[in-house]
């Protein structure tokens, strides 16, 4: 129903920045505990709520041969501790009206909660035990494993929920960035509770973790509480920061992954290639250009595939960034019969970006747009807490926020052309299509060498 939901989401993901009136990051304090744990504290008093986001360098890039290991380990933190069973943790959290999530994405594991400030003692006690002293109850593990396997299978019934996993695997191959955060059926099937215990012991340590607390508290008081919670936490000694090998993501030919789904009524597709790492010095400029190409409702892609042709409900483009590299893709969907028409149109738009580039008016509009929406991306304490832990994981800081407007303003047409040339893929494009193979297989050969998978097969 929402007219252009994908754009709202995109803007949030892209972390567009600063507005007309000066918008700078609210004051915060950063320090380290004696055991090496990095702490960020930011007071925000609009509502009596506190958000707490903790990250560990224990993401799916460390899965190795066992897809899903990092994610399962992080989720199983809540399966019980010395003093609480899984149910007791859940009852405590639910009763206070809080939520408490643990999990892992590619580059880090996380534990996230928010709570009413009047109940902070209860929640912090549970939170501290869960991250410092999980028991990895084996009965809960077996039940959890069954649920995970079932959900992975069910997830394939919604192509939009799994196309990212196919894309990353196709683009990054066997490099750890190709690992799907939540693993795959084969990997999860092979896991034992001992694997989770070993992974936790090896990778959860204060020197490779950070905690951000944002909300309605007094800094001095919160410092005492955190010190109490974590001072005895030793964790593992291993340093995992450089565990991922550098990667140079280059493609010497066009390739197509066709994911066959027999009952498809539409084709969902990604087209793209190499992107940039999160802390790239040109990241802001890249976001401005991407706004023009596929980052807003009037973007060239959405204008062509939706507004002018009615081929799709929406089309967009984005840069997905990691610590060491990233990828770029154009994404859309259309009914099976117009698959080639829509893809050709998307390719034409990308070519136009390279051949013509934006005129002055379009560039200026994109700059206003990206600045105008920025403050709302960092409006809530939860968003601010996530930003602070991103600083830790990806190695940037508040300069990104505070200099954003300046960087956007500084982008002229010449710089824009340079950014397009350097960072937007043009040749040897990579394609992932989820759709009805028998109706589109022959027509899409023209895009490159085809690999075909069945969506119902395990893995991505």
């Amino acid at each position: 129903m929402k007219r252009n939901l994908i754009f709202t989401v995109l803007v949030l993901l892209a972390g567009t920045v600063v507005a007309q009136s000066a918008f700078t990051l609210p004051k915060y304090e950063k320090y380290r505990l004696k055991n090496g744990l990095t702490v960020y504290l930011m007071e925000q008093h609009e509502v009596p709520v506190i958000y707490l986001n903790m990250v560990f360098r224990a993401g799916a890039v460390l899965d190795g041969e066992r897809a899903g290991l990092a994610s399962f380990t992080a989720e199983a933190l809540k399966y019980g501790t010395e003093n609480y069973t899984k149910s007791e943790i859940e009852e405590t959290v639910d009763f206070l009206g809080s939520e408490f999530y643990t999990g892992a994405v590619k580059e880090y594991a996380y534990a996230y909660t928010y709570f009413n400030k009047r109940q902070q003692a209860d929640i912090l006690k549970v939170f501290g035990e869960v991250v410092r002293a999980p028991s990895f109850d084996s009965e809960e593990f077996e039940k959890g494993k069954k649920r995970k396997l079932a959900r992975m299978k069910q997830a394939k019934e919604s192509p939009r929920g799994v196309i990212d996993a196919y894309w990353d695997k196709f683009i990054y191959g066997t490099h750890p960035y190709g690992n799907t955060a939540y693993g795959d059926q084969t990997g999860v099937q092979s896991l034992t509770v001992e694997d989770l215990r070993a992974f936790y012991a090896a990778h959860f340590s204060p020197q490779d973790a950070a905690i951000a607390v944002v909300g309605d508290f007094k800094t001095a008081d919160m410092k005492k509480r955190l010190d109490q919670m974590f001072k005895d936490w030793k964790g593992s000694k291993a340093k995992t920061r450089n565990a991922v090998a550098p990667i140079n993501l280059e493609f010497d030919r066009s390739r197509v992954l066709l994911v066959n789904k027999n009952d498809s009524r539409e084709t969902r597709f990604y087209i793209g290639g190499k992107g940039v790492p999160r802390d790239h010095p040109d990241y802001v400029g890249i976001q401005v250009i991407n706004t023009i190409l596929g980052g807003r409702f009037t973007s060239w892609l959405n204008a062509e595939l939706r507004i002018n042709s009615g081929l799709s409900y929406g089309a967009r483009s984005r840069f997905s960034t990691h610590r060491l590299t990233g990828s770029f893709n154009i994404a859309s969907f259309t009914k099976t019969a117009t698959t080639v028409e829509a893809i050709d149109l998307a390719l034409k738009v990308l070519a136009r970006l390279h051949n013509e580039g934006p005129d002055e008016k379009t560039l200026s509009s994109a700059k206003n747009y990206i600045k105008g929406g920025f403050p709302t991306d960092y409006e809530t304490s939860g968003e601010l807490a996530a930003l602070l832990t991103d600083f830790f994981i990806f190695g940037f800081d508040e300069d990104y926020i505070d200099s954003f407007q300046k960087k956007v303003d500084a982008l002229d047409r010449k710089a824009a052309q340079e950014i397009i040339r350097k960072y937007f893929p043009k040749e040897n494009l990579q394609f992932v299509l989820v759709g009805k193979g028998e109706e589109i297989r022959e027509q899409i050969r023209k895009y490159g060498e085809i690999t075909e998978k069945q969506i119902t097969a395990p893995g991505y």
Binding site: M1, D94, S312, G372
Partner: protein, 436 residues
């Protein structure tokens, strides 16, 4: 989001968050358009939410989905700003927008740097006062909406099953059809249908406008008088006359799709949002499904391993609607077994009621939901609008805490017995087609 907005009010009184009833300034323009303004200077941004009292309940067979289609057409050109220009102008001013259509309302949302306030008034006034329905835009927009409908069915089992369950449960009332409409109607409605819809439903007296953010109330009022007030009023739309007759017995539907395990929906007729039982039903929904410790999650997912995911929804709607329970079976579990296990849990509540601790838990959850809703300027605008439309007066929100507090464990048990009977339910299953 829909099911949480009541909480909003609860908290305003209980917690005395920064926004209070006195912070909401209300005006009625000469043409009947209602305007609510809240100043919030926490970020240099503002928004405008326009709640139109029109949704799929105002449609009839032949024009199902027209409200939603109209939502799209409102972006496709008017007198001053032609096709595509609404978005072009707004985005160049640093703004962005969205819109949604439900069974009851169509809501347009504009977000922008506060300095662009006048641009937004200009754009909205142009399309509200002088929409131009362009033939070519109608045709290309049909394609967009067919794609939207199709991608919903492709990607969401819930969409697919719920459409059939609603249609079976709603014998007579327009809630029978999906908001997106039937494919045949999307392809067939005419420009005259659209023009008529615009004249009747997009009159200023059928709209509540909410502005929240880094603005001055006086300035907002002045702009509203300048841009919106000259737009003429229209006779109010005809009320929706049809009342759904009481259900006479259980209804069952089966839908085939290639799924790895059955999906199940069980729906019960319940009253509209203004009925006193609304509050108890809302709390009952939370008791059933919010959090891993909730009745259904604990029993069906974590203890008995019969389901992998489940949701319940208490409706907030203008007319009596359906309380929905949606369950996804674990692999190898038959739909009938999951259904039976759900009834066991429901019967426990109907027979033994809920504990005081459970009741307190869901009241605590509502409080936190409220805080999170009012933390942003968009949460404030959207919740004020919903309150005004669904409960009849935004001030009603300040009465709600009392009504929520009054809900007792006995009330929960009573509503469970009143509405959750076999006779009053419709059961849908989504399963693979049996092989011949």
């Amino acid at each position: 989001m829909k099911r949480f907005w009541i909480v909003f009010c609860l908290i305003w009184t209980v917690a005395q968050a920064q926004t209070s009833p006195e912070d909401v300034k209300e005006f009625t323009l000469a043409n009947g358009m209602q305007l609510l303004v809240v100043e919030d200077h926490s970020i240099p941004n503002a928004n405008m939410y326009l709640f139109w009292r029109v949704g799929s309940r105002n449609e009839a067979p032949g024009i199902t989905g027209l409200s939603h289609f109209f939502e799209h057409m409102m972006f496709n050109g008017a007198e001053k700003y032609g096709p595509k220009e609404f978005d072009v102008v707004m985005e160049a001013a640093g703004g962005s927008n969205n819109a949604y259509t439900s069974e009851d309302v169509t809501v347009y949302t504009d977000w922008f740097p506060a300095s662009s306030l006048e641009v937004i008034f200009d754009l909205e006034a142009d399309r509200i006062g002088h929409l131009a329905i362009d033939d070519q835009m109608v045709e290309s927009e049909r394609g967009v909406v067919l794609s939207e409908r199709s991608t919903g069915l492709e990607n969401s089992n819930y969409n697919k099953l719920n459409a059939q369950v609603k249609s079976a449960a709603m014998f007579a009332h327009p809630y029978s059809w999906p908001v997106i409409g039937y494919e045949s109607d999307i392809k067939a409605w005419t420009k005259a249908d659209l023009q008529n819809y615009f004249d009747v439903y997009y009159a200023p007296n059928n709209c509540t406008v909410i502005v929240v953010g880094d603005v001055e109330t006086d300035a907002v009022l002045r702009l509203a008088q300048q841009y919106f007030e000259p737009i003429p009023a229209h006779d109010p739309p005809q009320p929706v006359r049809t009342v759904e007759p009481p259900q006479q017995g259980e209804r069952r539907v089966v839908v085939y799709k290639e799924v790895s395990s059955p999906n199940l929906e069980i729906a019960y007729h319940v009253p509209n949002a203004r009925h006193p039982d609304y509050y108890a039903l809302e709390l009952l929904s939370s008791i059933l499904s919010t959090g891993n410790s909730s009745r259904l999650q604990k029993a069906l997912i974590f203890e008995q391993s019969l389901a992998t995911q489940l949701y319940t929804f208490a409706p907030i709607s203008l007319d009596p609607n359906l309380f929905e329970v949606f369950l996804i079976a674990a692999p190898g579990v038959a739909a009938a077994d999951l259904e039976a296990a759900f009834y066991v849990e429901l019967d426990r509540i109907k027979t033994d009621g809920v504990t005081e601790k459970e009741l307190q838990k869901v009241k605590n959850q509502k409080l936190m939901e409220f805080y999170r809703d009012v933390e942003t300027i968009n949460g404030k605008a959207n919740n004020l609008g919903r309150y005004e439309v669904f409960f009849g007066d935004f001030r009603e929100l300040f009465q709600a805490p009392e009504r929520f507090e009054k809900v007792t464990a006995a009330d929960i048990k009573r509503v469970a017995n009143t509405y959750f009977s076999p006779k009053n339910r419709t059961v849908g299953t989504l399963i693979p087609e049996p092989k011949p």
